[in-house]
């Protein structure tokens, strides 16, 4: 038990480090650039017609305070962290006076849902099929699946989503291609609402799953073909252990641990893919929100989403790290 405690603390330390470095990068990006978001906002507000200079001055002071940009650099740094800790990103300029945290709170579940569903489907299916392909090398069906997976793997998220959109939106329009649910259905735990949520999520989930499934398949296949040559597998086959048992408990089981690590490492990339997919399909998650924020010059919103993304991904990776020892008992010794 004590060794697990050590492991837990190490992983926690890594989590804290990631959040710390990430948020620092965010702070660096926002403060080391020549653009001053306050001036930018004022410029866009005073674009049309004359403005009373005193009113502008008041606006400037208010914005400074809102954005946490008053005071020295060090004060700004502290304010930044303080606000992050309380989850206060201020109000959104484009949807004034709705607080940014509320907007993120509304969008986050959609993103999390999309991400977890498609990742689960892609990881499990990809690994399972890749494992079979690595073990039964002669099967023509699996070889064909391998070619498909190799073709899918290098394609970046945007292109894949676009292709899915074109296929199912224009060539064969059977599924809705935008929004999270039908506009005229009131949200609630009704069957109508639930089913519309599901139908609207099919294409984004499909798209995101296709993006990653190729990688899992190919990775698992090569992992399994290496494991098959390992001493303990050869020995078990020699001993006449039941083939089915070898495939599951000796081969696949040993491949799962590295694949789980792979999942933790790619989570950042999968998150990127998720928000891009959302933009393509107009899915009401963080992606659409982010683009909206950029296009309307909403500083607090963009900042808030960037910060939350870092924390969310780091937390997910931390959670996976905690599950890892269940798959690989050797971790305690290391």
């Amino acid at each position: 038990m004590r060794s697990y405690l050590w492991y837990f603390l190490r992983r926690l330390g890594q989590f804290v480090l990631v959040v710390f470095v990430g948020i620092n990068i965010v702070f660096f990006v926002t403060h080391a650039t020549p653009i001053d978001p306050v001036e930018q906002a004022i410029n866009s507000a005073t674009q049309f017609g004359q403005s009373d200079p005193r009113a502008v001055e008041i606006m400037r002071k208010a914005l400074r305070e809102l954005y946490g940009l008053d005071g020295t650099l060090w004060q700004q740094y502290l304010t930044f962290w303080k606000r992050l800790a309380t989850g206060d990103f201020g109000p959104s300029i484009s949807a004034f006076p709705t607080p940014v945290s509320t907007m993120i709170g509304r969008a986050l579940p959609w993103t999390v849902g999309l991400l977890s569903t498609s990742t689960l489907i892609a990881w499990c299916t990809g690994n399972f099929m890749g494992g079979l392909a690595g073990y039964y090398r002669k099967s023509r069906l699996l070889k064909a699946a391998g070619i498909v997976a190799t073709g899918l793997q290098p394609i970046p998220s945007y292109i894949m989503s676009l292709v899915v959109l074109i296929l199912f939106g224009y060539l064969w329009p059977i599924l809705p291609i935008s929004g999270g649910f039908e506009m005229n259905v009131p949200p609630g735990l009704t069957f109508a609402f639930m089913s519309s949520v599901v139908t609207h999520s099919l294409l984004p989930v499909l798209s995101l799953a296709l993006i990653t499934i190729g990688g899992w398949f190919v990775g698992m296949r090569s992992l399994v073909s290496n494991i098959v040559a390992e001493d303990y597998v050869v020995y078990a086959e020699l001993a006449g252990v039941d083939r089915h048992r070898i495939l599951t408990s000796y081969v696949m089981r040993n491949a799962l641990a590295p694949q789980l690590t792979g999942l933790a490492l790619s989570l950042g990339g999968i998150f990127n893919g998720a928000i891009i997919t959302e933009v393509v399909f107009g899915y009401p998650g963080l992606g659409t929100l982010l683009v909206r924020g950029v296009n309307s010059g909403d500083y607090s919103l963009v900042l808030g989403i960037a910060s939350i993304s870092i924390i969310a991904v780091a937390a997910a990776v931390f959670a996976i790290d905690l599950v890892y020892p269940l798959l690989d008992p050797r971790v305690k010794v290391r």
Binding site: Y232, Y235, D242, S249
Partner: protein, 335 residues
């Protein structure tokens, strides 16, 4: 048939063909030998002489690119040649009648499964016992090997090398097989543990009465465990006989060098190494494979491969020089 195992003219090569290059590595080239019931037959030879390949072939453990090209392998408990059997019969005899003690049990146990689960995977299907009876037998065997039953709940990486080796022995012998193949089981262990493991192996073999092939390059181990010894060089068997006789009176020049290289207490003579290196089995030398390094090589050695002939009852050697000198001796004796 009296012999537990009878191998005749066995040939097994690695045949590879990739990126346009075809290669044949003649790892086992025409080997004939037999193992008696209840005896330990040792096989010695340096690295890459083909002994591991021989083991794989005799134990029905070949995988591409390894291929059996000819010869026969007959066990006493099988009616047909080993490679004439169908999958089902083969799976049936595995472990129950033919088992392995593997080399360097670093990695032969599944790292994510506990020891008792390994026993269940390997041995339980072959023994018609209830689960609890089965584990009683297992615990008995472990005790014989000086292992506490508590290791059953451990993972392989939690045990020491010596313990893992003993687990491997237990695993291989719990079904009381008729034939056991041991592939360098003591190579990865330090000398003290080695002695222990060897003693246990001997004890187990005597108790079960199985026949064994014991492969190791270490001649001192053979001195302690093998009843008869076969020396392999470059894929061929070059000498064979009772272990004691081989040590006292080695006949083949290679064996002589091997025995002479063993340090003895009180022996102060400097040791000379054989010049040259073991041959490349993809392009072996013509005739006798040892001739490039042999001080007694003559023309015929370079042209044709010497047969393994019985020079004295129980002793076989493959060397023209030995055959010639024995003929000369017998001629003078006749006089």
């Amino acid at each position: 048939m009296d012999a537990a195992l009878s191998v005749k003219n066995l040939r097994a090569y690695y045949v590879t063909d990739y990126y346009g290059v075809r290669r044949e590595v003649r790892a086992v080239d025409d080997i004939t030998l037999s193992v008696e019931k209840n005896e330990i037959y040792g096989i010695a030879g340096e690295s890459s002489c083909g002994k591991s390949t021989f083991i794989k072939t005799v134990g029905a453990a070949i995988r591409p690119p390894l291929r059996v090209l000819g010869g026969s392998i007959k066990y006493s408990f099988l009616e047909r040649d080993l490679y004439d059997l169908d999958e089902r019969t083969l799976a049936d005899i595995r472990w129950k009648q033919l088992s392995f003690i593997p080399q360097g049990s670093m990695n032969v146990l599944n790292p994510v499964r506990r020891i008792r689960e390994s026993f269940q995977d390997f041995a339980f299907p072959h023994m018609r016992l209830s689960r609890s009876e089965f584990f009683d037998v297992v615990k008995q065997r472990l005790e014989r090997l000086h292992l506490s039953p508590s290791i059953l709940t451990a993972f392989p990486h939690e045990l020491s090398g010596g313990m893992r080796q003993r687990v491997a022995i237990a695993l291989a012998t719990v079904c009381r097989p008729e034939f056991i193949i041991a592939d360098e089981p003591t190579t990865a262990l330090d000398v003290v543990v080695q002695k222990d493991v060897l003693a246990l192996t001997l004890e187990t073999q005597r108790e079960i009465g199985s026949s064994m092939i014991f492969v190791t390059h270490d001649l001192t181990v053979h001195a302690n465990i093998s009843k008869r010894l076969g020396i392999m060089y470059a894929g061929r068997l070059i000498e064979e006989g009772p272990t004691g006789d081989l040590f006292r009176d080695p006949m083949h020049p290679y064996t002589q060098h091997l025995v002479a290289s063993l340090p003895q207490i009180g022996d102060l003579t400097p040791k000379t190494a054989l010049n040259g290196a073991p041959p490349n089995l993809a392009q072996p030398p013509s005739g006798c494979r040892f001739h490039p390094r042999c001080p007694l090589a003559t023309d015929i050695c370079r042209q044709t491969n010497p047969e393994l002939i019985t020079v004295v009852p129980g002793r076989r050697v493959a060397c023209y020089a030995v055959a010639a000198s024995l003929e000369a001796r017998s001629l003078t004796n006749d006089k």
